[in-house]
């Protein structure tokens, strides 16, 4: 893929589309939602400063960058607070904080590659083909990861769906 330097407008569009999903993704590495948000912000700050030349698809790049930044934050010992229902990363449409918290916990328990596929697909609105292109994993592998991830999440969220 060709290298590209994004304009400020393109960075903002990327942020609008993927920002919330990236916060959810980052929060599966660092449990503190504020830190997850800081991580995403730092990545986009660097993009805005136009110092980054993207060697790949923008979505793939920001996911990789957020992952690395979140892992660095975790290594630096940024506080790892217990999940708080009031300040979780997710909000449920019907306002069920317990379900939202369970989802956040379940996501962070998924293997990294499965978690990535689910977040990209559900909250970044990417097709599995796009996820495949972004992650560099074959389409069939991505599909399997997605299927396994959904099965695990379904199991964890079953009590809330029944109620």
């Amino acid at each position: 893929m060709s290298e590209k330097r994004l304009s400020a407008e393109e960075v903002r569009q990327l942020y609008d589309r993927h920002g919330p999903a990236l916060v959810a993704y980052a929060s599966s590495f660092v449990s503190d939602p504020a830190t997850a948000e800081d991580v995403v912000h730092q990545v986009f700050h660097r993009l805005l400063s136009a110092e980054i030349v993207m060697p790949e698809a923008p979505a793939a790049y920001v996911y990789r960058a957020v992952r690395n930044e979140a892992l660095n934050a975790r290594r630096r010992g940024v506080r790892n607070v217990p999940l708080d229902p009031k300040s979780g990363v997710f909000e449920h449409r019907d306002g069920n904080p317990e379900a939202a918290l369970t989802l956040q916990r379940a996501l962070s328990e998924l293997p990294e590659e499965q978690r990535e596929v689910v977040v990209m697909r559900i909250w970044s609105g990417m097709t599995l083909e796009e996820v495949s292109a972004a992650t560099g994993a074959p389409a069939n592998t991505v599909a399997s990861r997605y299927r396994y991830a959904l099965a695990k999440l379904r199991e964890k969220l079953r009590p809330f769906r029944q109620s």
């Binding site: 400020a8 960075v11 903002r12 942020y15 920002g19 919330p20 999903a21 990236l22 916060v23 959810a24 939602p33 948000e37 995403v40 912000h41 986009f44 700050h45 805005l48 400063s49 136009a50 979780g88 990363v89 997710f90 909000e91 449920h92 449409r93 019907d94 379900a99 939202a100 989802l103 689910v118 697909r121 559900i122 909250w123 097709t127 599995l128 083909e129 389409a139 599909a143 997605y146 299927r147 959904l150 999440l153 379904r154 969220l157 769906r161």
Partner: protein, 126 residues
């Protein structure tokens, strides 16, 4: 791609991740201000350091001359180098001394035309 549990996908989509705070608006200020500040700081340091450097050089020259005079009395005493700052200070304090210094400096720095083997005589002969 396979057909997945669409209902469960829809259920998951009911959870919305929190929207992060907005990105800062004036992007360019991040890039321009540090450079401007650095440039201003560099100029300020250069301006502040130049008198100090010239004084330091002058005092160093004087010291070395004094030492040389003590050790080897025959060596000619080299006059201090003239910087823009010292010349300005001298012009304000003692114009006569400035004239003397400039005359002496011109003898050292300009080609000598008085001696038998001066540059001008050599050129004239050619």
């Amino acid at each position: 791609m396979e057909d997945y549990d669409e209902q469960f996908e829809k259920y998951l989509a009911e959870f919305r991740p929190r929207r992060p705070r907005a990105l800062p608006d004036p992007i360019n200020t991040h890039r321009v201000w540090p450079r401007r500040l650095a440039a201003v700081a560099a100029i300020a340091v250069a301006l502040g350091a130049s008198p100090w450097f010239s004084r330091a050089n002058n005092s160093k020259d004087k010291d070395s001359v004094v030492k040389n005079v003590n050790v080897i009395p025959d060596i000619k005493r080299e006059p201090p180098k003239l910087s823009l700052v010292t010349v300005t200070q001298m012009a304000l304090k003692d114009p006569d001394q400035l004239d003397a210094q400039l005359t002496e400096a011109s003898r050292r720095m300009l080609p000598d035309f008085r001696g038998s083997d001066s540059t001008l005589r050599v050129l004239a002969k050619e």
